[in-house]
């Protein structure tokens, strides 16, 4: 059923002609660019997010980019809804250029079934070999669409079409730390262990959320992400370094 919904959502991938300004109470405004998970719609979300962060409007408190909308938490006693919308429209006029990520992250990922707990099950559903699944996942060029669910859980667009599979009907048990998952046509890098309806098809030794490290969070929404396959031994070596506070993924600045 989830798969059918996913298909249905994909049937209307075009962004709206004009964004919709939807109130979530008097102190939050959701700027909605479309109603599906789609790279072009998400690019508009991230373009506005970047422009608004740059603009530093008084009264704008937090920005939460999601697949298809930007949630703006604001203080209405400082900036009125009308003035906020006016500012958004002038930013939209200026920022018509295509979205360009500021960085690309190279994230080490081990696809060995000993660590990638669900790769065999997911491969069976997709009717490919686990090796093929891992190689195919590692060939994808991803974009951090949004965070959600729990701290450091980063949802990625760009999963190869051949790896789209529905989420589980009922959740699996808690994920291992650093689980890399697929589900519902997307990929996801997780942080702390949580139950999930997705499939664990890899593990990264990198820690997406580490309080004692500066910065505690690495990947910005909008950053490009790619995975670099590593073997079992390398995983444990890098995991030990990550545990000592080192960042083991690498950040490539993009022009």
């Amino acid at each position: 059923m989830a798969y059918q919904r996913l298909r249905a959502a994909r049937m209307t991938p075009a962004p709206y002609d004009f964004p919709r300004y939807l109130d979530a109470g008097e102190a939050a405004l959701s700027v909605e660019f479309g109603n599906s998970v789609d790279p072009e719609i998400n690019a508009r979300v991230l373009t506005l997010d970047a422009a608004l962060r740059e603009a530093k409007l008084a009264g704008v408190e937090e920005l939460v980019p999601t697949y298809r909308s930007l949630m703006i938490h604001y203080e209405p006693l400082t900036i009125s809804r009308a003035d906020l919308v006016k500012a958004l429209e002038s930013l939209a006029l200026q920022g018509a250029s295509a979205f360009a990520p500021k960085a690309r992250w190279h994230v080490p990922c081990c696809y060995d079934p000993a660590l990638a707990e669900d790769i065999v099950a997911a491969a069976r559903i997709l009717e490919i070999s686990p090796e093929r699944l891992g190689a195919s996942h590692a060939s994808g060029q991803y974009r951090a669409y949004m965070y959600g669910f729990a701290p450091g859980w980063c949802y990625l667009g760009g999963l190869p079409e051949s790896l789209a599979l529905p989420r589980r009907a009922s959740p699996r048990g808690a994920t291992p730390p650093g689980a890399v998952l697929i589900g519902g046509g997307l990929s996801l890098i997780s942080a702390n262990p949580m139950p999930t309806g997705w499939y664990v098809i890899g593990r990264t030794p990198e820690r997406m959320f580490a309080l004692e490290r500066e910065p505690p969070l690495l990947i910005e929404p909008g950053d490009a992400v790619c995975f670099e396959p590593i073997d079992h031994e390398t995983f444990f070596a890098l995991e030990a370094r990550a545990a000592r506070g080192e960042v083991v993924a690498s950040r490539e600045a993009l022009p």
């Binding site: 109130d23 109470g25 959701s30 939460v64 999601t66 697949y67 949630m71 006693l77 959600g148 450091g152």
Partner: protein, 339 residues
Amino acid sequence: MSATLRILKAGPGASVQDKGRRGFLRFGVTPAGPMDSGAFIAALLAAGDAKGAAIEASLGGLELAAEGGEIGLAIAGGAFDVRLDERALPPACAFKLVPGARLTVRAGPAGAFVYLAPFGRFDLPLVLGSCATHARSGLGGLEGRMLRAGDAIKIVDPRPAPVEPMAILAPWLGERPAKSRVMLGPQQDYFSPEAIETFLSARWRLSERSDRMAYRLEGPILQHMKGHDIVSDGVAFGAIQTPGDGAPLVLMADRQPTGGYPKIANVIGADLSALAQTRPGDFVGFESVSWEEAVAARRARELAIGAGVTLEPLLRKEFSPEFLLARNLIGGVVDGRET
């Protein structure tokens, strides 16, 4: 030597909160913070640090003692039963807890949350700039968890507290509108006009399965027109989302930053405190207002809070009308309990 606040007993639902963890929502980090921000700020103002932290206790109650020195405390929230040893105190008051004395806070006639702010600062680490507890992700407070018996929190930078207990007068405390005002949306177009009418006219019972994350409402089923699954988007405090079973959930302080169910409406900021103080088994209703009305209510509340709190001695020979009025507003529980 600095004093330590010892938790002698803690029912479920006791945690350390400050105004919340801000700036990390875009990384999936829930702000947490107080359920009732109005009572929280009343306790902080009375204790002399509007930017500080407090212990939030719920219907499970709390018992505290001071070790190694006296500790000033300000308490404010629902109409809880507050006792310093055998002495009954008003539900909003400031006092000194001396070593050997025991403070007992139990559920009283009304209200679901109460705040205890120290005249001083909890010696707790800041996690992403905040000591608000979000137990689900293990962040903040004491070891990222709810408080339990035996816990100790050191109080640093102490400030002088009233020698005798004083009542806290905060006009916004205990305000309880008949209905919670909401703004419809952001996904009211997922519901038929009849479903919206049902939502606004029904009496909703607050379920026992309610917590800091969500208040579950029991009542009529709200039918969706376009299915119950949306592409996840942002979630604000007070968002009323309706999953597939049609039973609405009001998302509260520990909500996730994003969600995938249609949100029929959002409780306005000025009415979140009263809603938070609703108890399981109590009934709530909703009334739709405009952005302008919501902002006017928000401004009125900000002005009231901006005027601050007043501390009044419990023993008085003369009672001003303002004094009596303020006591009525905090539920009248004080009457007859003074010693």
